[in-house]
Each structure stands twice: as structure tokens, then as C-alpha cells.
Symmetry: C2
Subunit: 488 residues, 2 copies
């Protein structure tokens, strides 16, 4: 990295901060400043210094002053000068220790698990780089200048129009661009909703859910009250004095069932009767594999439901974009709470995503990934049926994860057996609300979307081994190739 900066520094005359002060004239001051910059490690060994002319112009001194200072420091051994390679900081001038660069926390030092089956992330190797780059470039070329000025806290109109179209068509959301507020994801949506007083606690939540969300809410001073789950989803009949309820109606997270149609109707009735609000986390609504898609709850009553979604599952966590579709009466309050000056979400990514949706690239990508994840889920179900028949895959065929129901009391040992085979995954216990009194279930949450395509077979094989009856000793007679096969 220093090398490439250095190359350009020569060409363009890089910025170099030097303060010329103290006794003895400009030349002496420049020598002192350069020496100090090298000694402190600010200019590492090998750094190429700007050409005389460039530095002289920056500092308002004569070129000869710079040339003299460089020559003096070369003589002292701080710098080296070589024909065609300019003036550089000498190797031996580098500070021996203390100021040396600390080794970084870079990807090279972090060793991930051998088999990553944690839920929450799509296959990172499947990011549609070419199509995304094309959308981004096109959007950047066509953008009016005002894009680069202070933004609309609601988000770019291009993206809100594209999302309105898409969410209506693909998710059954009743969305106009003016009801949509762009954010950087679900967690970011919680801030203006609760911080701005649009929503107030206590908030009813599903008894199993994302601990990360509960922590965020607790940090914001919002008390959460767990609703038990049964085979029809959250027991919304238990709602009483809460002001709002957070639900994952399309695909309960993490247990995997959709909210029963009667419950969908009941929660809307509750909201209308009590002046309550439903916060709909539509985190993986695009991924349903059994041809029984469940539309957004918001479609039942746009004035009682806040619909929240993002591209975290459909595209990547790296594109930090999400959206809220709000009841009309809350739009101004949310925008005020979000703040005029802080749109947070990258405006350029917003334009890129608008183009990505409008051009059809988003549909194409979702379709491709839907097929891929459906195949992976099928392989998981088939392999477990053969190799670990005591493990039940629960929930509907949807999403990026499956829950494996385990015999009571075996969850912890199963997570341990998986860990010993290099598999990272979560047990159900971590998703359970601490205050719920519903019976606990033992289970594993398997994020089958997470590994890259080439690594999925090995991860599945390792999982089958860890879960095979007779423990993890590998004594089961089944054909090991069943897990690693390319699937039906």
C-alpha cells in the first residue's frame, strides 16, 4: 500500500503536513520538521517525498530551500536519493520500536470457523458484482449534481420510487414513495421509531427472536414483553396493554412458521381496537420455496403496520440499505427524529440500488438465490432424513435458515459436537426471551445460506456426522457421500 501511494505522490505532489516554525530560517525549520516526521514514524521507511517544486509551492518557500533540506537529510542518513527513484525515507531511519505500526486486526489474522452455518447472512461469494457495478456506474453517471449535496432524510426519491413499485409487486405492500423512509437496516429503523417517540414501549415481541434486537431495544429504554409461540405462530390474543408488537409474520424468526391467517386478522383487529401498532420485520420475505408465498401483513392495514425490510438477506450485509413503509401520520415524526442532516445510508448506494431494482437485476438475483437456497435446504432435509432421522427439520420451506428440532436436553451437547467438527452454529436457547414462560425447545438454527457454494457439501457432511445417532464417534453405518452429494 505505501508503494502505490508513493507512486502517485511523485506524479501529483502528495499532501504532506509540515509546520515550519522555530529559530534559524525556513531551511532549518524544514529540516527539523522532516526529521521529526521521520522520527515519529509519521513518514515510514521507503516513503517517497514530494518533488521539490511541489513541496516548495505548498510551503511558500524557494525550490532551492527544499532541495537543500533534502540534501542535508540525505547527508545525515534520514533520507536516500537515487536517480529515477526520487527522494525516500531511508530504511534505517525508521523508529526501532514503540512507534512501529501495530499489527492490524485485518482479515488475515481472523480465522473464521471451518464450516460457518451461523444464520443471518446470505452466501457472500454470490454477490452480483458485475451487475451491481454496472448499476452503480450508471446511477453515478446519470445523477443530477444535487445528489452530492445535502440529502433528503427520507432517502433518494429514485430509490423510494423503485421500492414502492417492487414492494407492491413482490411483497404485497401498499407503498407509496412518500411513505417510505430509507435507512441502513432494521436496527437503524428502531432508532427514529423509538427515539423519536413515534413508538413507545412496552413492546410485545415473539418469545423467540433476535437477541441483538432485544439488546438494542433495552439500550433505548424500551421494555419488551414476550408473546408465546404455538403451531400457528405468535399468540397475539395475549396482547393486552402493550402499545406495539414486533412480529415476523411471513416466517417466524427463528422457529420458521408463518403467522396463521386468523392470527394475522386478529392482530390487525387488536391494533384497530386499541390504537396499537404492528412492527413487521420482513427480513426474508423474498425466500419462500413451496409456492405458498405469504404477503406482507402491512397489506391488510397500512395505517396500523410499519413494514421494515432490507437487502441484508437478499443481497449483502455490505450494502447497508433498508426501508420503512410507514403509516402516513408517522412520516413527518420519523423524518424529524432521523434528522435533517444525517441520512446515514450512503446516497450513492441508494442510487445504485434504485437502478439495480428498476433494471430487473434485483429480481434476477433474488430468483437465482432462491433456487440456490431451495436446493441447499432440500439437500439438508434429505441428508438428515437418512443420516440423523431423530432430528426433525421444522418450519416451512423458506428463508436462509432451518431449525432442527432435537430431543429434549440435547441442544447443548449437539452444539458442542458441531463445534468439535469446526462447525459454527447457534442453539435455539440463545434466541429465547429471558422472561418467557413458554416451554423451551431444544434445537439448532442452521444457516444453510452462509457458506460459499463449493463449501456447502463439506459443511453438511460435518453436520450429519455431528448429529448421527450414536453420538459423534462416527459409528453410524450410513453412506457418508449422501450429505456431500450435489443434491436432488
Amino acid at each position: 500500500m505505501p508503494e502505490s501511494w508513493v507512486n502517485s505522490a511523485e506524479r501529483i505532489g502528495a499532501d504532506l503536513h509540515l509546520e515550519l516554525s522555530g529559530p534559524g530560517g525556513r531551511r532549518a525549520a524544514l529540516i527539523r520538521a522532516l526529521r521529526e516526521a521521520v522520527r515519529s514514524g509519521r513518514l515510514p521507511a521507503g516513503t517517497r517525498l514530494p518533488p521539490y517544486r511541489s513541496l516548495a509551492a505548498d510551503l511558500g518557500v524557494a525550490r532551492n530551500t527544499v532541495a537543500d533540506a533534502y540534501a542535508e537529510l540525505v547527508a545525515e542518513g534520514w533520507l536516500t536519493a537515487r536517480q529515477g527513484s526520487g527522494t525516500r525515507v531511508a530504511e534505517r531511519a525508521a523508529p526501532p520500536r514503540g512507534h512501529a505500526r501495530v499489527p492490524t486486526r485485518g482479515p488475515g489474522r481472523v480465522r473464521g470457523p471451518r464450516h460457518d452455518l451461523r444464520q443471518g447472512a446470505p452466501d457472500a461469494s454470490a454477490f452480483p458484482r458485475a451487475a451491481w457495478a454496472a448499476s452503480y456506474r450508471r446511477a453515478l453517471q446519470q445523477a443530477p449534481s444535487e445528489v452530492f449535496g445535502p440529502g433528503d432524510p427520507a432517502g433518494r426519491i429514485e430509490l423510494r420510487e423503485a421500492l414502492a413499485e417492487y414492494l407492491a409487486r413482490a411483497r404485497g405492500v401498499r407503498a407509496e414513495p412518500d411513505r417510505i423512509v430509507v435507512c441502513s437496516g432494521f436496527a437503524h429503523a428502531l432508532r427514529p421509531l423509538f427515539g423519536g417517540g413515534v413508538l413507545r414501549g412496552p413492546l410485545a415481541v415473539e418469545a423467540y427472536g433476535l437477541g441483538f434486537h432485544r439488546e438494542l431495544l433495552a439500550a433505548a429504554g424500551v421494555r419488551t414483553v414476550p408473546l408465546p409461540l404455538d403451531e400457528h405462530g405468535a399468540r397475539v390474543d395475549r396482547l393486552t396493554r402493550e402499545r406495539a408488537v414486533l412480529l415476523t409474520p411471513a416466517h417466524q424468526f427463528p422457529t420458521g412458521g408463518p403467522l396463521h391467517p386468523a392470527r394475522r386478522a386478529a392482530v390487525i383487529d387488536w391494533a384497530r381496537a386499541r390504537g396499537g401498532l404492528v412492527l413487521e420485520d420482513d427480513y426474508d420475505g423474498e425466500f419462500r420455496y413451496d409456492r405458498k408465498p405469504v404477503g406482507a401483513l402491512q397489506g391488510l392495514d397500512p395505517e396500523r403496520v410499519i413494514h421494515v425490510g432490507s437487502v441484508s438477506k437478499s443481497l449483502s450485509l455490505a450494502v447497508r440499505l433498508g426501508w420503512m413503509v410507514l403509516p402516513e401520520r408517522y412520516v413527518d415524526g420519523v423524518l424529524a427524529a432521523k434528522g435533517d442532516r444525517e441520512a446515514w445510508a450512503s446516497v450513492l448506494d441508494q442510487l445504485g440500488l434504485a437502478d439495480f431494482v428498476v433494471s430487473g437485476s434485483y429480481d434476477r438475483h433474488v430468483r437465482r438465490m432462491r433456487q440456490r437456497y431451495r436446493d441447499r435446504r432440500d439437500r439438508l432435509v434429505a441428508a438428515l432424513a437418512e443420516r440423523a432421522p431423530h432430528v426433525e427439520v421444522t418450519g416451512v420451506a423458506a428463508g436462509l435458515h432451518a431449525v432442527l428440532r432435537l430431543p429434549p436436553g440435547t441442544e447443548r451437547s449437539a452444539v458442542g459436537a458441531a463445534a468439535r467438527r469446526g462447525i459454527a452454529l447457534d442453539g435455539l436457547a440463545g434466541f429465547r426471551h429471558p422472561d418467557t414462560d413458554m416451554p423451551a425447545h431444544d434445537g439448532l438454527v442452521v444457516g444453510y445460506a452462509t457458506p460459499p457454494e463449493h463449501a456447502y457439501g463439506a459443511a453438511l457432511e460435518a453436520l450429519c456426522e455431528a448429529l448421527a445417532p450414536g453420538g459423534e464417534s462416527g459409528g453410524h453405518p450410513a453412506e457418508p457421500a449422501a450429505c456431500a452429494s450435489p443434491g436432488p
Copy 2:
């Protein structure tokens, strides 16, 4: 926009959310679902429906079922079918009112001021689109897959390395990548610093500063205590029991002077003696025009100063990226407060910026803008000297704004005179801390960087007219062309 979606829908088979339920078989259910989607406005007039095959595959029904349903709805007048143009929603099928799309808050409806001289934004028309697009594309092509997975809350290592190099070289910051935490700007930095308990109030601030920051701090429950300003900057000798102080040492915002070297030393002494911290907002440090650059205060003591910067002034508000350079002992606390899962800042923009810095494009752009803003400031000074000699331009030649000192009691009328000429700008009063007892100054804060290049002359001319002696009646005899000339 519907047209372009429609084109791609035909090609790829767009996603269309339809729930088939109720009595009478699949065909009847599909007809009901489509009719309802049109009636509710979810499928607007003119929308092209997916081809039979594509929709049939999605719903798990026979192609003929879809063909029959389409034909029935064409017969009923809900859809139209034309050779080569597919099946579309009929124009007359659109809902007459109520469900019609609300007009949007788009850029077309918002009329900005004729002359925008508000501070805070660089010239939006000068965004380096081609160079930025090249960096982004290169970064996207070269990125390892893990980029698209869950991110490091500290930010991408590529960007932290590039910033460490740049900030050391250009701003005199003592920065290692491991001390840098990427954020989306100064306001975003405040959250983990205060919310996470790394910093606690009360916080001393400069008596003149950004009201937006004071509001954010107040919302976070942090009390701010104003320090008076004099000709040497903030009166840091007034610090007593505060735990931390927020300063703009390179270029006091908005009054425009640098913190005197003796004060710089004094505030570090205070921090060491009292265990205090300095929060350095280096908002426009790259832009100094008089060859007397002031390095970052952080260079004096990296363990006592938190250095915060961003690209908001140097590049664009649309690239929402900033950084904190932290004392080593606070890094873990800030990362914990920031949260593992929420990096907020776009990871792809982070990679783009890393390439932009390393390739030298950032230096080139800063240099080009420095020259442009220097010229604009010179023109402002020259024009006012001739046309409104009673108005004094204060502060050093630096930054993206200037403060025009006005005779006592005239600020409000000057802002009004400017507004009547279509000029948006701020008076000094709005930046004053409500609790300060230092004497108030009348003045205007002129953001000379904000207008596009072609519009600056006219804005300057209008400003001269508004400020000319004898009021705004235009009775001043000076040559009007002086303001609008292309400068020295």
C-alpha cells in the same frame, strides 16, 4: 420508471406476489387475486404482467390456468393484450382516486434558494464522478468474498490502512489502523463515544459552534458548557470540572481562527493533569490557503485526543464516511458500543474510498478544490473591500466558509436583505451557545464553496448588492461587474 421495470419484467419474469386462496379452484383464485391487485392500485395501469410460463412456475399451476385467467380478465376489461406487447393492466382499470399515487417529495418539487451560500457543503457539481467510479469498480472487482459477509465494526482494514497513511502524512495525526474506527460522520461518532460511556458529560464546547451538534448531544443527555472565544480561540483556561472538551482547533467553527499554539499546549496539559479528553473535530483541515497549515491537535498527545474527520467537506455529503482516531485504551469500548452487527457505513463505499485515497485521487481532488475555494475566497474579499468596505472578513484564509463581521445590531437586517435577493445564508446568532456570557458579535457566515462554479459570480454580486452601504436599494455607485468578475 414503470416502463423500464416492465421491459425487464417481460425478459426475466418479475416477481409478483399473489395469494391463491378461497373457493372455486386455482383459476378462479388467480383471477380474484389479479383483479384485487389491480383494483387496489398495487398493479398500476400499463404494468406488463409476467409471461404465462413464468407466473405458472412461480405459483405451481399449469400454464393454461394462467392463460385462461389472463383471457378472462381481458374479457372483463381489467387487462389488455396486444400482439408483441404482452398482457398489461388496462388504463381504465386504474382506481379512480384514493389509491392513486401521492405526488412525491422529489427534487422536482423542492425549490432551493436562488443563491445558496449556506455553509456546510462543498460544491456538489465538482464531485469527481469518473475517478470515484473507477475506484469503486476496481475495489469491487478486487474485493475478497468476505467483504460481502458480516463486517468488522471498526471498518474495512483497507480503508483504515489508507487513512492511517493519509492522516499521518497530510494532517500530522499519529494514526495506526488499529486505532481508527470508521463511521458515517461526526454525528455518528458521537453515538458510540457518549452512548457507550467512553465519554461522559458535561462536555465543554466552544461558545460558537454547530447547533446541530449541541442538539445531538442534548438528545443523548450530554450537558454542554460553553467556553468563551477570544482572538486566540477557545479560552481553554476556563476548563474546570468538565470531563472532555470539543474543539475545532485547526479552524474554529464558525468564527474562523486557529487555536493559538499556547492554547493547544494548555489544553493538552489540562487533559493530562485532570484525566480529561479532547474531542477534535477536524472538519475542514485540508483547506488552508495561506501556507500556514495547522496540524491536528491529536499529534501532540494521541492518548488524550480523539480525532474525528470525514469526507463531508473534502468530497461530498453523499459519501457518508468518517473516522475516529482513538486513544488505544478506548478502542474496544467504542467497538463494543458501536455493535458487532451494525457497521452502518456502506462497506462498498469504504472499499471505494480506500482505493480513492491509495491511488492518489483523493490528493488530486483536494488540491483541485483547494485552488477553487481559495479563488472564491479571494474574490469575496476583493469584492467586499470595494463594494461594502464596512464589512470585515474575519478569520484565516481557510475552509469552505468566511465570517463577515457586521456593525453591531445589523445582522438580522443583513440576513433579511440577503433573503430578499434570493440568497440563503446564516447569521452568526444561530451558532451561539444559549448559555454563553461572552459578548455577541454580529456577522454573516458565507458558505462560498456551496454554489456550483458557474453560479458563484451571480451569488457574489447579489451579496454585494445586499451589503452595499446605503442599504439594499442598489444606490451604490460601484461597478456591479466587480463582484461577478472571474476573480484575480
